[in-house]
C-alpha cells in the first residue's frame, strides 16, 4: 500500500502547480536571503580590512620612528608623541582586536548588526566600560534583516502549513474520504504516509534550494562541511516538527479552514508570542542593572579617587613593590596616578559588573528553561551558534578583548614605573590578540530537542489515535 500511496502522491504532486510554486518560492527566498547574508558578511570583512590597513600603516610609522630613535637619528615627531615612551604606545598605538566572521556567518545576522567586530582598547579608559555597539540605524535593528534564519524560522513553517493543512480535509470535502475508508489501510496510516512523502519532497526541495543559493552566493561555505551538515540536520528536524504538527491538526480537526486557522495560531504562538513573552518576562524578572547606575557609580568612584590620590598611590606601590624603584626621588606623574586609580576603580566596580553578568546569565537560564516550549527559539539559538553571531559569541569576544587588554597593559605599565623605554624588541614581544571561538556548540542538543518534541507529538497524539475513527 505504501508503494501505491507513494506513486499516487508523487504523481499528484508532479501534476499540481503547487510543487512548481513551492520550488520557485523556496529558491527565490533562499537566494535573496543568502545574497543579503553574504552582503552583510562582505561589509563586515571590508570594515575589518580597512581597519587592518590603517593599523598596519600606523604601526609601520611607529616602527620607522622607533628604529630612527634607536639609531640616534633625528625624528620630526613632537616629544609627547614619541613611541619610545611605553605609555605613548599604549595610548596612541593600541593593538587591534578583531573578531573575524565564521564560514557560515551569512546564514544568521544574529547580533552581528548590533556589535562591532574590532576594538582597540588603549591604556587609558576603563576596559570594563568599553562600548561595543556599532553605528547602525536603530530602525534597521527593530525590523531586522531578511536572512536565511528568518526564512527558516518564520517562512518555511508557513509554506509547510500551506502545503499540508488540507491533506485529509480535502478528501473529506471532495467526498473521497469514505472511499478511502473502504480501502485496506487505516486512514491514519494513509495520512502519515502521505505527510511523510510530502515531508520528504519538501525537505529535498529545501536542501537543493539551499545548496543552489550557497553555490551562487557563498560557495566558500562548502569548505565547512561539518557546520553544513549540522545546518541540514537542524532544518530537516524543524521541517519535521511542522509536518508532524500539521498531521496532528489534520487528524484532530479535519476541516480545511479550521486546520489552517489552528496551524496559523500555533505558528503565531511558537514563532512570535512565546519568544516575545519569555523575553518580556525575562526582562521583568531579571532586569539587567541600570547602566545609568553604573555611570553614577563610576563617577563617584572617580571623584573619591581624585580626593585620595596620594593614599591610592602608596597603597598601589605597597601591593606592587616590584614597580617602586629604589630611587628615592621617583616622581609620579599623571599616568602613575592614573594606573593606581584604575586598579581601585576595577576593584570597586567589580560587584556592579558581576551584577550584569549574573542577570544576563539568569535571563539566559530562563531561555534555556523555556526554549523547549518553542522550537523557533531552539532554531534561532542553533543558527546563531553555527553562524557565530549569538550574544554568547559577542560577550565572549568582549571577554577576550578584556583579557588581552589586561595582559597588554601589564606589559606596558611596569615599563612606566621602571622608567624603561619602548624599543623595537618590545614591539616584537608585545602580546597580540587572536580571537578564538570558545562557545561550545550545542547544535546537537537543540537538534535532539526538536526531534524529541516532534517524536513526543507523534507517539502521544498521532500514533496513539490510530484506532480512533476519523470523522467522515
Amino acid at each position: 500500500m505504501l508503494n501505491n500511496n507513494l506513486k499516487y502522491e508523487l504523481k499528484l504532486l508532479m501534476r499540481s502547480k503547487w510543487l512548481i510554486l513551492l520550488s520557485i518560492s523556496i529558491v527565490l527566498l533562499f537566494a535573496f536571503a543568502t545574497y543579503n547574508g553574504n552582503k552583510n558578511v562582505a561589509k563586515r570583512l571590508t570594515d575589518i580590512s580597512k581597519m587592518e590597513k590603517e593599523f598596519l600603516k600606523k604601526d609601520s610609522t611607529m616602527l620607522v620612528t622607533l628604529t630612527k630613535i634607536e639609531k640616534g637619528e633625528k625624528v620630526d615627531t613632537p616629544y609627547w608623541q614619541l613611541p619610545n615612551d611605553p605609555i605613548t604606545v599604549g595610548y596612541r598605538y593600541p593593538r587591534l582586536a578583531i573578531m573575524q566572521p565564521e564560514t557560515l556567518s551569512f546564514i544568521a545576522t544574529g547580533q552581528s548588526d548590533m556589535y562591532t567586530h574590532f576594538k582597540s582598547p588603549t591604556v587609558r579608559g576603563n576596559n570594563f566600560a568599553l562600548d561595543y555597539s556599532e553605528m547602525v540605524n536603530p530602525v534597521q535593528l527593530l525590523f531586522g534583516n531578511f536572512d536565511l534564519a528568518f526564512v527558516f524560522i518564520y517562512i518555511l513553517p508557513l509554506l509547510i502549513i500551506a502545503f499540508s493543512f488540507n491533506v485529509l480535509s480535502k478528501e473529506k470535502e471532495l467526498g473521497t474520504l469514505r472511499l478511502l475508508g473502504a480501502q485496506p489501510i487505516a486512514v491514519n496510516l494513509w495520512l502519515i504516509q502521505k505527510i511523510g512523502i510530502r515531508y520528504f519532497v519538501f525537505t529535498t526541495i529545501t536542501i537543493v534550494a539551499l545548496f543552489v543559493s550557497i553555490e551562487l552566493f557563498s560557495a566558500v561555505a562548502f569548505n565547512d562541511f561539518g557546520s553544513l551538515i549540522k545546518l541540514l540536520l537542524l532544518i530537516s528536524g524543524y521541517i519535521l516538527f511542522w509536518f508532524i504538527l500539521s498531521c496532528f491538526v489534520n487528524i484532530k480537526i479535519n476541516d480545511s479552514s479550521k486546520n489552517a486557522l489552528t496551524l496559523i495560531g500555533i505558528w503565531l504562538l511558537i514563532v512570535m508570542v512565546i519568544p516575545a513573552t519569555i523575553n518580556q518576562i525575562g526582562n521583568s524578572l531579571y532586569p539587567t542593572p541600570s547602566r545609568l547606575k553604573m555611570i553614577n557609580e563610576i563617577r563617584l568612584i572617580k571623584k573619591e579617587n581624585e580626593e585620595k590620590q596620594n593614599k591610592i598611590m602608596n597603597d598601589y606601590l605597597r601591593s606592587h613593590p616590584e614597580l617602586a624603584t629604589e630611587n628615592q626621588d621617583q616622581k609620579f606623574g599623571f599616568w602613575h596616578n592614573y594606573f593606581a586609580s584604575e586598579k581601585i576603580m576595577e576593584e570597586k566596580t567589580a560587584p556592579l559588573l558581576a551584577g550584569y553578568d549574573s542577570q544576563l546569565k539568569k535571563q539566559q537560564n530562563l531561555i534555556n528553561m523555556f526554549k523547549y516550549v518553542s522550537p523557533a527559539i531552539l532554531m534561532q539559538q542553533s543558527l546563531n551558534n553555527i553562524a557565530g553571531t549569538s550574544e554568547k559569541h559577542y560577550n565572549d569576544f568582549k571577554k577576550q578583548v578584556f583579557e588581552f587588554s589586561n595582559s597588554w597593559r601589564e606589559y606596558l605599565v611596569p615599563m612606566l614605573f621602571k622608567e624603561q623605554v619602548f624599543t623595537t624588541k618590545n614591539y616584537r614581544e608585545m602580546p597580540r590578540f587572536s580571537y578564538k571561538n570558545r562557545i561550545s556548540d550545542d547544535t546537537w542538543v537543540n537538534f535532539m530537542a526538536i526531534i524529541s518534541i516532534s517524536g513526543f507529538i507523534f507517539f502521544f497524539f498521532i500514533n496513539g489515535k490510530k484506532n480512533k475513527n476519523i470523522s467522515m
Binding site: 552583510n40 561589509k43 580597512k50 581597519m51 590603517e54 547580533q111 548590533m114 556589535y115 562591532t116 562600548d131 561595543y132 555597539s133 553605528m135 540605524n137 536603530p138 530602525v139 534597521q140 527593530l142 525590523f143 531586522g144 534583516n145 531578511f146 528568518f150 508557513l158 493543512f165 480545511s256 479552514s257 489552517a260 496559523i264 503565531l268 514563532v271 512570535m272 508570542v273 519568544p275 516575545a276 513573552t277 523575553n279 518580556q280 518576562i281 525575562g282 521583568s284 532586569p287 539587567t288 541600570s290 547602566r291 545609568l292 547606575k293 555611570i295 553614577n296 563617577r299 563617584l300 571623584k303 550584569y356 544576563l360 535571563q363 523557533a376 527559539i377 534561532q380 546563531n384 550574544e391
Partner: protein, 467 residues
Amino acid sequence: MKNIIFKELKELARDGRFKIATGITFVLLLIATITGINQYNKNNKQYLESMSKERDVWETQGEKNPHSAAHYGTYAFKPKFALSLFDYGVTKYTGNSIFLEAHNRHEASFSEASDQTSLARFGTLSINFVLIYLFPLIIILIGYNSYTKEIEHGTDTLLKSQGVNPIKLTLGKWSATYIPIFIITSIIFLTIGIVLSSLENLAFFSWASLLTLGVSYLLYYAIITTLTILISIWSKSSGLSLVSSLVVWIVFSFITPKIATNFANNYYPYPSKSEFNARIAEDKKNGLDGHNPWNSAAKKLEEETLKEFGVDSISQLPFNYNGYRMQKGEEHEAKVYEKNYNLLNEIAINQNNIYKKLSFLSPFIPVRFLSMEIANTSDNLHWKFTKAAEAYRIKKQEFLNYDIKDNAKAGSSGYVMTAEKFKKLPKFNFTPPTLLEILKENGQNILFLSLWLVLPFLGLIITSKKI
C-alpha cells in the same frame, strides 16, 4: 444594512474561535501592560535618580580649573516619555545617556538590547506588539469568510434573489467586521489613558497624543478590514481566502520591512564607528586645536586677534587668550562634528525614506513609524535628543572657556574656578516636539495611510457592484 450588521455580529458572538482569540489577546495585553508599567516605573526612577546624582557630582566637584572640569564632563540623560510604555519603538536599540566633555562629541551609549539575550530580536511583548501584529489577525479571523461562507452555504443566491443591494451588503459585512475591533480598540486606549494618568512622575503625557495614536491604529484596522473583505469577495473558498489574507498580513508585517532593511543597507550603508571617528580626526587635524598654540590655525587666530585689539602681544589683550583660543578650538571641533553627524543623519534619513517609499507595499510601515513618532520612541526623536545634548555641550564649553577668558590672569596657568560657580551652569533640559510638529513631520506617513484606506475601499465598492 442594519439587519446585515446585526446578523453578522450575532454569528460572531456565537463563534468560539473569536472568543478564544480575543481572550488570548486580552491576556497578552494584560501581561504587556503590567510588565510595561513595572519597567516604566523602574526606568523612570533610575532616570530621575541618575539625573539628580550626576548634577550633584558636577556641582560638588570643588574648585577646579574650568578646562579640567570640561574634561571631567557631565552626562545628558534622555527622559522616559509616558507613551514609551505603549510603544517601545527603537528605545531598546538607542542608548539613553550621552557623555558631554571637551573636544569630543560622544554618542548615546549602552543600549538596552546590548545587555539582553538575542531573544530580544523576536520582539518584546508590549501593548503595541499586540495591537500591531495580533489585532489584524483577529480582523482576518472575523472577516475571511464573510463572503465565501455565503457561497459555501449556498446563501448567496438567496441573498441575490431577495434583491439585497450589493453595496449595502458589502458595507454591512465591512461594518460587522470592523465594529468589534473598533469597540475593543477604543476600550483599550481608554484604559491605557486612565492607567497612564494614574501613574506618578509621568513625563510628557497627553490625551491628544494617545487619541491620535488610537486613530492611527483604527485607520490601520480599517485598511486590514477592507482588504480582508475584498479578498473574501475574490476567493473561491474560505480556505483560500484565509490563506491569501494571511499571506498579505505576512508580507505587510514581516517581509516588506525586512526587505526594506536590506535595500537601505545596500543603497545607504552606515560607516563603521572606527571609520566615522577616523573621518572626524582627519577633519579636526586641519583646523584649530585649542590645546596647541603652535599649529597654523592657532597662529592665524593669534594674528587676527592681536590685529583686532590693536596690540602686539597676547599679554596685552584685555582677556586671557588661552581661554579664548580654547573656545575657538571648541567651535571648530563642534563644526567638524556637526558636519559629520549631519552626513550620518542624512544616511539615516535616506534609509528611513526607503522604508517609507516601500509603504506602498505595506500600510504596516507608515503606521509603525507614526506610532513610534507619537510615542516619542522613534530614531527621529533620538536624533533630536542627541542634537539637543550637543547644543548643551557647546554651551557648557563656552561657559567654562569664557570663565578662563574673563577671569584668569593673562599668561597665568594655575587658574581655578570657585566651587560655587559650577552650580551656575544651566541644567540640561530636553523637551520633545509637540503633537502638531510630529504630525507635520509625518505628512508622508499620514498620506500613505490615507491612500491605503481610500483606494482599497473604492476597490471594495466597485467590486461589490459586480457581485
